[in-house]
């Protein structure tokens, strides 16, 4: 194996010798394994290993970056030269030189928590797990689409900065999910997924698979698929809306996480992901949500998919307030963006591989739990709609408005669940939505939902994030179908 530390040192020293004001080198090794099962047979078993390094510099007050998968000392020199050359080109068109907020240097190792390394489990055992899930789904012969998958990722990274930081990290992710359904005709299908659409992902080892109770869920989901086949469209009305926790997770992701990425607020994503309604002149002023809304960025959470020890600029992970008692109090930030509002970096710079520049990304964006049981939430709703499991999402480019679709909904009548509805949607304005939250589920229903496919940036990057949530009750929401 190549001497990564030596390669990184050569690259950083070369960049500094070429006049870079700042340089870092990040090596990343990503090992992935994904298996899927469909209608009684293994569909795919994929395994991949990807490694390389990226050199990031500030030259003449502007950023340059070059990454390579060739792990040699000569390539380290070439990458440093390329990064400096690119930085010089950037400097020809910058409005103000890049400045970074100060950060402590660290020489530490971080290993995420896991009990069983999934890469040490036999392939046959993994396929056996999926076959068992398929058998559970096959108990009802009416189901004619049965899909299940498991995914594992090991990330080994090494960061060396010209500021003296040297950080080694090893992080393991596991994911699992099922989707079952019935095709009634070529034009009509009903499906349900579990634990959420696309599955649940956590910073855990193989033990995640046994922690999720599929045998309890599958009969219930089967009944729901049967009910959806006969269900009417969700009616269009303005009503009390109760959202299941995983739905809240994605709503947090789209309507709190993305709008509070400080690079986005400053316009860095204007050409692609968009901007943000939560501009910095509203910091510590904007009534983002009702007084029971408290949200934090917390990469220290033990199993959230957005957990790590250090971000990709070497900032040590910590919990940072984003919304306190309903007021906007903070942002997800980097050393560069935080400096523009005279704050410390929140430690949210993350690159999806060695070959991409770190961007401000979500970590675990956690909406702190409320105090209501599910029955109390239903009782508080009185009459309304309950929706479960996101199936579609479409926020506006500044995240000020949205439309979400779910797999299933139920009428709430006199505080009790009734009629099933298909194709439910809800839409509205983000700030109005969060200010209309009247009650939240308690700790027993709270969990960090993993999103393994958050897109941002050009070239596109795919971040893994977490969203801590319990069910919420929202008043006067426009629903439809």
């Amino acid at each position: 194996m190549a001497d990564i530390e030596k390669i990184a040192k050569i690259a950083v020293e070369k960049a500094v010798s070429l006049g870079a004001e700042y340089a870092d080198c990040r090596y990343v090794e990503l090992e992935n394994e994904s298996l899927s099962f469909s209608n009684g047979s293994p569909e795919s078993v994929n395994s991949s290993l990807d490694k390389g390094f990226g050199v990031r510099v500030i030259k003449n007050g502007a950023w340059g970056f070059f990454g390579s998968s060739l792990l040699t000392e000569n390539e380290a020199v070439r990458a440093a030269e390329k990064a400096v050359e690119i930085g010089k080109a950037s400097a020809s068109i910058v409005q103000a030189p890049v400045t970074l907020t100060p950060v402590d240097s660290h020489k530490e190792d971080f290993v995420s928590g896991f009990k069983t390394d999934p890469f040490k489990i036999d392939l046959k055992d993994k396929l056996g797990f999926l076959e068992n899930l398929d058998n559970l789904m096959a108990r009802n012969e009416a189901l004619n689409t049965r899909d299940s998958h498991i995914d594992f990722r090991k990330t080994i990274s090494f960061l060396l900065t010209s500021g003296g930081t040297v950080v080694n990290q090893k992080i393991i992710h596991s994911g699992v999910g099922i989707e079952l359904g019935i095709s009634k005709s070529r034009r009509e299908r009903a499906t349900r997924s579990f634990p959420q659409n696309g599955g649940q992902y956590e910073t855990k080892g193989y033990e995640l698979l046994s922690e999720i109770d599929f045998s309890d869920a599958i009969p219930r989901l089967t009944d729901e698929v049967m009910a959806l086949l006969e269900a009417p469209q969700c009616p269009s009305l303005e009503t009390n809306l109760l959202l299941e926790g995983s739905v809240v997770g994605l709503v947090i992701h789209e309507l709190i996480g993305h709008p509070l990425e400080l690079d986005r607020v400053f316009g860095s994503e204007r050409n692609f992901s968009g901007t943000s309604f939560a501009t910095t002149d509203q910091l510590d002023k904007l009534q983002y949500g009702s007084s029971i809304i408290n949200a934090v960025s917390d990469p220290t959470h033990p199993y959230g998919l957005g957990s790590f020890g250090f971000d990709d600029e070497g900032v040590k992970s910590s919990s940072v307030d984003l919304i306190k008692d309903g007021i906007l109090t903070g942002y997800l930030s980097s050393r560069e963006t935080a400096n523009r509002i005279d704050r410390k970096s929140s430690g949210a710079m993350r690159g999806d591989s060695w070959g991409n520049i770190p961007l401000v990304r979500m970590t675990n964006i956690n909406l702190l739990a409320g105090d209501k049981s599910f029955d109390e939430l239903l009782a508080s709703a009185g009459d309304g709609i309950y929706m479960s499991t996101i199936s579609s999402w479409s926020p506006s480019d500044d995240r000020s408005s949205f439309e979400f679709g779910c797999e299933i909904a139920w009428e709430i009548k006199d505080g009790k669940l009734g009629q099933v509805y298909k194709n439910p949607t809800f839409s509205g304005r983000s700030v109005d939505f969060w200010n209309s939250v009247t009650a939240m589920g308690n700790e027993s229903m709270w969990k960090v939902w993993g999103t393994p496919n958050c897109g941002k940036g050009q070239p596109g990057q795919n971040a893994r994030t977490g969203q801590g949530a319990s069910p919420i009750l929202v008043s006067n929401v426009k629903v439809g179908g």
Binding site: K88, A89, S92
Partner: protein, 442 residues
Amino acid sequence: MIDKKILEIFGDAIKKSSAGQTELVCESEEFYLTRFAENSIHQNMGRSDSTIWCRAIFDKRIGIARSNDSSAEGVANLIKAASAIAQNQNDDPDFVSLVKSAGDIKSGGFYKKTLQFPASERAAAVADIVSRAKAKELSCAGTFQTAATSLAVANSLGTSRFAENSEYRFTLTVSGENGRSGWAQTAGRDVGKFDYKSESQRAIDKALVPGEPVKLEAGQYTVIIEPDAVANFLLFLAFLGFGGKTLHQHRSFMSGKIGEKITGDNITISEDPFDPAIEYLPFDYEGVSKRKVEIIKNGIAGEGVYNSYYANLAGTQSTGHALPPDNSYGPYPKAMTIDGGQHTVDEMIESTKSGIYITRFWYLNFLNPMKTMVTGYTRDGTFLIEDGKITGPIVDMRVQQSMLEAFGNAEMISSERRLIPQYGAFMLVPFMKINNFNLSVA
């Protein structure tokens, strides 16, 4: 970027493989992207990488592994990894064989100038655009990307093919006061032919359309949509239903409707890798030569695109549209065209008493895939048309529309077409004037 010598490494490694059939694929890239926002370059990067896939097959058991180590040792290890997976797999009864593709194949679409285009020239173009926008008190954000790719495919049946491609891509958002903005996007193979001044001027002109954006009510409108918006719909249609896998699984809106009319008579959609504007790689990730496919002809569902696996299931031949071995989408078109019509954009506007001009859609997502129903937003250049003239900007609106119905309601199609890149696809598409288009308040 890796050159043709990789085929020698592949040939040696395949000879030593213990698998019944072995396939090796290498996609290599030299990629540069200059990104700017707030009238500054804020991200500027380069990357050199190669991805290698191995498919090892023992009878009907298939193992797939991927890495980015292109050394002889790395390739040998990859074959071992894929073989270990295959030996633990169950049979795939539908798998027949890898494909033998005879002879090398000529590759178009590679321009050395694009590969060697320096960061300083990308920055110089950005500086010129920013300077023209700033003079009008506008703010620019965008990307200027240059890249070259090589694809090598070899297998134990004798396939041994190599091709190179280059591309540039350019996107620009220009923002003015009160939420006014404009967008331009283009792409091509030869950066020497890229006229950034005229492309960027389109976005600048849109951001300068005077007036406060007005808010319209929900309703059905006559709309004129630019090629960017047409391409947004086309890419989603392709995802939903142009591939052999979605057809086989009856998840495509074309399933059971081949030969039937599914949209307007004036709509012809093809997959055409050889269109001179597109110049796509001449073979796919199985080494199979690509061919033109008429997917929808005069509104009638034609044929989908296939790789060897789904072609066997459908009783047809591969059309040369395999994606990398570890993808889950099945075959997919990446070089699509929509035939142009007879009209000019000016004729479309002049013939519209009341309507909306849309530059592009944003964040489309499915509401009902079988009905091709999507939701999303308009973005970066949405204008009111009154009495045959654009009269000012409007506040962006939510789209809730069946895409096939929209194409079915296309009253006019432009003769002008633009090359629009989205994700891995190049699409050559016209403007359309569409009636009864559903828009609501965002």
